[in-house]
Subunit: 358 residues, 2 copies
């Protein structure tokens, strides 16, 4: 009797950091056997797709762990509840579906009073009201340490409306909604003020004037509105994904699943002016905050070039590049016209803080 | 800036232990607003029920936390993976549905090598093969401490076949599949041997001859076979639930949701003879292991008295009591003919180990 973790000599064991998040997921989900014809799409997209009569059900789930995905020092519980719902709703939006039902499981240590869970659920309910999603399941248990939240969301779509990661073709235009990098700069701001506070608890945090960045980090929104915008423009994207890990990583997912390469244009990446200034202050290249920062929950999608005229003047949508043949590789053209290879990070194994980082 | 847990004076805050699991769930899910007509049943049963064309989709989710729901010292990862799938599949069986798809999210600390996750997923896949369930979603992240597993399962049923907790009526017979209490005795055995091992690592664990009890704890099965058994007998239960928290607690759920009282007969509760002996050895009344032990994952259901003849000789199904008017209360008739009030424990808040216990 001993801890039942495999006990080969350590030399034969592989640390998680060696594979990284995406390598690990690939390994764990390789060669999965599917038994049911209703299972249209299993792992490998923002949500699973399951046939249900005329329609399909979309299914996505996320696990949020205190100290990894959020820091209780600066995350109000109401915002945390809201965000934990939104990040899942965003996955349904990324499939071009309509979010419908949600379940929430929570494990908490005894340091949380009932009122803390009330706050958390108030945030979850706010998101349910905002996005018209039904909270249909609840589960609570205790934890030895900290707060753990698991949210699962179900969505619905007509089968022909679902947009996968795998549909992009060479020459398709790469588009993104909103602006990128602000959520990450919000995180850096909060981390900085936390360090200041730790050093001197009498100091007041200097977050004023940065409501946008802090809000993007603590209380993101899901782009469920884009489905109607695009349908209004008469456009069906060829592929789509939401930006949780960063523009670089998500673009590479679309390329991998679609079997394409890509060219992104640094100068076209939409970045809020204040976020740009803030990045400079933090000595970060602004486009890097967009490429690797993550948590913006905007939508990244590709469209056929024939749809260019329809989309070119659409407010809040930027064309930032195009797909290529796979053989041309995945690259970004910098503002000074250099071509650099795209690299992506998911959570970085065990090497650092376990969340997408630069 | 400070931890954003509500900061009322402690006197105004409510410790989680004061409400207990069921009180807490009631509080957090009170007055939920539902927006979609497809949402047939939200919180309050083994699974949510969602209309999907001619059929319904069943949705259930569970969160398993190391140190609360399992102990790595004596839980092989392969068994843990298997069990984490089975406990969810059991929820679908409890609605009289067919499990179809599964998602698994895992958070692990860096003490786990990749090979440990391989083991865990091997167990999950074994359950998927055994129960013909498609693994359709995967998510991994790091954790600061230990292993956390969240499993969500989707099932399917004809709308008219779904069995809720709420359909029992006074006089309905209370039935249970298999036998009860063995999983709990298996847990006590494992805990005892762990203590022995801690005191003297040279001692070999004495688990031999108790394969059944240890197996019930570490590698339970879901009673997905009962759907066909009952349909073969021409019986549709009036209510049903699976036994995760213990017979007492689950019976009380059926009573509460159905608006009835009940009488259980201690002498009728099916208990494995060896489990009975083992309980005595541990100085536990055997029926208490069945009533409050939990984790047997058998099905508890009620049937109309007119179905008595059909079920009375069915192998592996025991009639253990009957429903009454709510005003008659919830009670058990002991072997020596005394009437005692039923009491139920879910996880016991923060007072002890956070899992169903005596």
């Amino acid at each position: 009797m001993s801890e039942t973790i495999p006990t080969d000599s350590p030399a034969n064991l592989t640390p998680l950091s060696e594979l990284g998040e995406f390598g690990l997921i690939d390994r764990l989900t390789a060669d999965i056997k599917l038994y049911h014809k209703e299972t249209i799409k299993g792992v490998g997209d923002d949500a699973a797709v399951i046939a249900a009569g005329e329609k399909v059900i979309l299914l996505s789930t996320d696990l949020l762990v205190e100290g990894i995905h959020f820091d209780m020092v600066y995350t109000p519980l109401k915002h945390l509840g809201y965000k934990s719902a939104v990040v899942n709703i965003s996955d349904i939006a990324a499939m071009n579906g309509i979010p419908k039902q949600l379940t929430v499981s929570v494990a908490v240590s005894s340091r949380f009073p009932v009122e803390a869970l009330d706050e958390l659920y108030t945030g979850i309910r706010l998101a349910c009201d905002r996005y018209k999603v039904d909270l249909v399941g609840g589960d609570t248990s205790s934890s030895n340490k900290g707060l753990i939240i698991s949210v699962t969301v179900l969505g619905e779509a007509q089968k022909e409306d679902v947009i996968y990661r795998s549909g992009a073709r060479p020459n398709d235009l790469i588009c993104v909604t909103g602006d990128l990098g602000s959520a990450y700069m919000g995180l850096l701001l909060l981390e900085r003020e936390k360090a200041v506070f730790r050093a001197n608890p009498d100091m007041q945090p200097e977050l004023e004037g940065f409501d946008y960045q802090v809000g993007r980090q603590l209380k993101p929104e899901a782009r469920t509105d884009i489905r109607e915008t695009l349908s209004g423009l008469g456009i069906k994207p060829t592929s789509m994904i939401d930006i949780s890990d960063g523009l670089a990583s998500e673009t590479m997912h679309l390329c991998k699943q679609s079997g394409t390469g890509c060219r992104l244009y640094e100068g076209k990446i939409p970045i809020n002016p204040q976020t740009r200034e803030l990045a400079m202050e933090f000595k970060i290249i602004p486009s890097v905050a967009a490429l690797s920062g993550g948590e913006d929950y905007e939508l990244l999608f590709t469209i056929d070039t024939k749809d260019y005229e329809k989309i070119k003047d659409a407010e809040g949508i930027s064309i930032i590049g195009h797909m290529t043949e796979a053989s041309e590789g995945k690259a970004m053209i910098t503002a000074d016209d250099k071509q650099i290879e795209l690299t992506a990070q998911g959570w970085d194994g065990m090497k650092n803080d376990g969340r997408g980082s630069i």
